[in-house]
Symmetry: C2
Subunit: 363 residues, 2 copies
């Protein structure tokens, strides 16, 4: 079972850091390590094994946690963290790691007050280090989330959902409803629908602006499936494209293809960014590509690694990332093309399958 | 303007705590104090006045922050917090408060590394203390959010949306779509629709369970308007109610009325809980009311004050809270009735206006 394997992988790190146990308090990290989806939980992963590990939640989640976490000792207590630190004291844990990027200054003071017998040791995102590499179960869910977004956009296009006269907001809601109909629990982030000059704003929120013939229409959206986030951007043109629209579309498409081609285990993240960015810069639009090339996706819509000019690190097989260059011409319009992919030793697996050829919406 | 007034109110607290300034890093608190709605921001509120205060965000939000925060000095920097601490150093700030319930242990270490010249002082939720009392602008938005939920439920009932054969999930999506059509930006939390025996689960997630004649149907939902959350629960019966259904409905309705009657500036929060709880306990159902009576609502769906048996504190005019007793009979069904209200010196203002008489859905 994957949760058992993930906890076992975490133990390797604990032993390397000479920790007796780790107190996991980030709810996504608890979910990753146990499958529990409730809103109040903590987990003590013991270096020696699952038989010494403990899961805590409150009374509202007694039944749910029994079902979702059948393989660990469970305690029911409103103060999940303090309870596990007490438990650690009773079980003579000496060095207890805690997630210092999650626990607040007040939270740390409260834990330190529970006991003087346990030494609280700051750790550097040990669970996130595991989450960087998606296992088969995770890739399968990401594939399903990306498929829901593909299905939604295909339906929207096929059924004339992008006609002049509709508003950005209407298109956004339509996409979201279609993702839910395609099996998503909901959207994975606030849908971006930006038409005409609005498409030049990288993170435009949908307004009552009306789609018009001749507009570039940028849609950045994703589906949430079993807690995992898909992320895709497509830019289409309503009616026959003008020359400048076609030019920046082809430029961004070429940059995106170069980014995907550079996406490979062993590559430096900044080199992947550069592969796409150089093409845009050489065309004289370097200043119009105002953000990083991409980011990791998984239980969060934005997670490590960051593919950017100042990013540090190396890609590894199993990382799920976006590749999303853009060129934005203020007052005129912009193009972004974004896929979600899984890194491998060879060509990455493309999860968002909608075409990247310029779609001309007849109108 | 209300943001200016809120910052001025915060200054009173800063002076009492002998702080030269407060570094606000919670994004809802920044929004409360400035109106900024982006995802990366920090605010330094100087004790001397707005002319010494500074707002920080990153390049993505340059245009947006110019519009939303026209009245403060703005700096654009990706590292919003460090930048403001540097700024504080240059401006010879001695004692700088920080939100110790928000800043993580790692975050604090990073800020301390920026400078030794500034003393970082933990504070006890000073902005949340202000947010407890809603001003007129906030009450107006909460009223609109509650109205969107009322409109959604009225439409659902009027148009036969609660017919046997539909699933919980369908009803949930229908309610959510209707709230959006009524002007909401979205739902304010995951909608609860629980039919038949599922209604006995306090926080049931909608499933494909089908509505049946004779079911108690519990709907707990809310609308999001301008960042503010409404919260309402209504329980209806599909077809003629059985005697036990009518009895627990009337019991919960009486308890809810008693809770509302006790809701008044100056009341202890635990006394308000007790006013409702005693009625349920006297009827022999004390053990079936397994949660607190209510909670504050505002920029968060759950915020202070908590109306519960172990709650501490006194109500004040302008607090927006829910009153939501419930009786849950495992395996049979449950009833919860919940309103959002604003506390005053006299009778509270009721924001959720849907009837609390038992609605019998003809079928």
């Amino acid at each position: 079972m994957s949760y058992t394997r993930r906890r076992e992988a975490l133990r390797v790190q604990l032993r390397q850091s000479e920790l007796d146990a780790l107190l996991v308090t980030d709810s996504l990290n608890v979910r990753y390590l146990t499958g529990f989806t409730g809103s109040n939980s903590a987990l003590l992963v013991h270096a020696e094994g699952d038989e010494c590990s403990v899961f805590a939640t409150d009374g509202r989640y007694d039944t749910q946690s029994q079902r979702q976490v059948p393989d660990l000792r469970r305690v029911i207590d409103r103060s999940v963290r303090s309870r596990l630190v007490k438990d650690a004291t009773e079980n003579r844990i000496g060095r207890l790691g805690f997630e210092s990027h999650v626990v607040t200054v007040d939270g740390h003071a409260a834990l330190a007050k529970v006991t003087a017998a346990v030494q609280l040791v700051a750790t550097s995102r040990p669970v996130e280090a595991l989450r960087l590499i998606k296992d088969d179960a995770e890739v399968a869910v990401l594939r399903a989330a990306c498929a829901a977004a593909d299905t939604a956009l295909a339906g929207l296009l096929a059924e004339g959902g992008l006609r002049p006269g509709r508003t950005e907001r209407e298109v956004g809601r339509d996409l979201e409803a279609r993702m839910v109909a395609a099996g998503a629990a909901g959207r994975s982030f606030e849908t971006i629908v930006a038409t005409g000059a609005n498409s030049a704003v990288p993170h435009h929120r949908p307004t009552d602006a009306v789609l018009c013939r001749g507009d570039l229409l940028k849609m950045d959206f994703g589906a949430l499936v079993d807690g995992y986030h898909s992320d895709m951007t497509r830019t289409v043109v309503l009616g026959q494209p003008a020359q400048w629209q076609r030019e920046i579309y082809e430029l961004v498409a070429a940059a995106q293809a170069a980014g995907r081609a550079a996406l490979r285990a062993g590559a430096q993240v900044r080199d992947v960014d550069a592969a796409a960015r150089d093409i845009i810069a050489q065309a004289g639009h370097g200043g119009d590509f105002v953000h990083g090339l991409g980011h990791g996706v998984g239980l969060q819509i934005h997670e490590a690694p960051a593919l950017s000019q100042c990013g540090v690190g190396t890609l590894a097989a199993g990382m799920a990332v976006t590749v999303e260059p853009g060129v934005y011409l203020a007052g005129r319009g912009g193009v972004r093309i974004e896929d979600t992919l899984v890194v491998s030793g060879g060509e990455p697996e493309l999860l968002t399958l909608t075409t990247k050829d310029l779609v001309v919406v007849p109108c």
